[in-house]
Structures are given as structure tokens and as C-alpha cells.
Amino acid sequence: MAIRARRYSQARAQAGTNLELAWWVFMRVSGLVLVFLVLGHLYMANILINAGDVDYNYIARRLSNTTWKIYDWVMLSLSLLHGMNGLRYVLDDWVRDARARFWTKIVTYSLAVLVFFVGSMSLLNHDFSKGLSENTRLEHSEGTR
């Protein structure tokens, strides 16, 4: 059951288990980190450039850069954990039938694991620099930010 406390001391008192308290703390810590990571990401993808100009080359350049691989992977991990735990709170509140709740969780958690796996593969296990010519890389090295 989600903790409804407004203060850490209350949260500790309300948490049924240490794990539930750990999730309560995680939501706040990851949320604070994600504010900067995600707003930075949106700024780079929508304000610094025209989001309508994003194409394969932009992705390949960006995912050829180690800094952005790390940035994106931290963002991917934290946002999926934060989002899926948030969804767990919502399902516990809104899906009253225990069987339906159980299966909804099975399906959504599986989907999240799949998305995490595919996203991690593209960030860590695929060489996007292969398709880029040396010229393209030099030409756009500033643009990848």
C-alpha cells in the first residue's frame, strides 16, 4: 500500500515494510535528479534544436557520444523505476479487483523490462558511429552537444 504521509517521520511510521519506505525515499531522490536530467533533455531536444528536424543522423551522432550514452542510460533507468513505481501506487489505488490488479502488474512490469532491455541495447550495445562518415562526425561534433 502506498504511503500517504507528508513527512519522513510519518512515512516511517506508516510504512508497512522497510522496502516500502525505501521506495518512498527513492521517489523523492530520483524525482529531484530527474527534474534536472529530463528538463535538460527537453531543452536540448526542443529548444536548442527544432524537434521536427530530428532524424537518424542526429540520433546516430548523439548515441555515438559516451557522455550522452551515460546521461541517457541514467535517465532511462531512473525514469522507468520512478514511473513504474508511480504506476504501482496508481494500480493499488484504482484497480480494486485483486486478480485484475495482479495481471495488470504482470503485463506492465514485463513491458517495462522489455523497454529497459531494448533501450539499454541501443545505448550500450550498438555502434552508431559506424554509419557516420568522418566528415559528418567532424562537421556536426558541435551540434551533438
Partner: protein, 121 residues
């Protein structure tokens, strides 16, 4: 806790924006990761995403993220400060003030881009 008033709206919108962001996140990661299968696959997906209706949807996602981020900071202040809960209503108005401060300039930058692709301007 504060039923039917600002606090409950803040809570409800936090959930709604959270669900919207999660849905977009799952689609977005799969969509960007599709670049692993080469430019043709990617370009076909981008052709869909760069249509005006999807661009407008993306503006909605930006709004959802901005509200969720700012109201999330409000939740953290309520949880970890002595005055956060007492001033939760004022903090919520602050959330909307900051929201407007960031979102209006973003609209001024992005909306003309969308209108140009539509040939309106």
C-alpha cells in the same frame, strides 16, 4: 487531507501527468531504439512523428513533464520542510507561476515551427 480543494487538484494532476509521461516514455524509448535497425526504419517512424498532430501531442508531453517536475518539487518541500504543508496552497500557485514562466517561451519557440510545417505561416 485537503479534499476538493487545490491540494486534491494538485494530487490528481500529478497522477494524470505521471501516467501520460510514463506512456510517452515507453513509446519514445522503443521509437528511438529502432535506430538500431537502420536509417530506413528510423526515418519511417520520424515521418509519422513529425506530422503536426504528433508535434502538438509532444507539446502536451512537455507541459505534463513541466507540471510533474514543478509539483514534484512542491511535494518534496512539503515532505522535508516544516513550513511546506502549511504553505502547500501558495506553493501550488507558485508551481503554476513557474510553469507559465517556462512554458510560454517554449510555446513561442515551438508553435511557429509546427505552423510552418502545416504551411499556415
Amino acid at each position: 487531507m485537503y479534499r476538493g480543494r487545490e491540494g486534491q487538484w494538485a494530487f490528481f494532476l500529478h497522477r494524470l501527468s505521471g501516467i501520460a509521461i510514463l506512456l510517452y516514455l515507453l513509446i519514445h524509448v522503443l521509437n528511438i531504439s529502432a535506430a538500431m535497425w537502420g536509417p530506413e526504419v528510423s526515418e519511417r517512424l520520424f515521418a509519422i512523428e513529425h506530422t503536426p498532430i504528433f508535434r502538438i501531442g509532444l507539446v502536451g508531453v512537455i507541459a505534463a513533464v513541466l507540471y510533474h517536475a514543478l509539483n514534484g518539487l512542491r511535494v518534496i518541500l512539503m515532505d522535508f520542510t516544516a513550513w511546506g504543508v502549511r504553505l502547500q496552497r501558495e506553493l501550488w500557485y507558485g508551481v503554476w507561476l513557474l510553469f507559465a514562466l517556462f512554458f510560454v517561451p517554449a510555446l513561442i519557440k515551438i508553435v511557429p515551427e509546427i505552423l510552418r510545417t502545416m504551411g499556415v505561416i
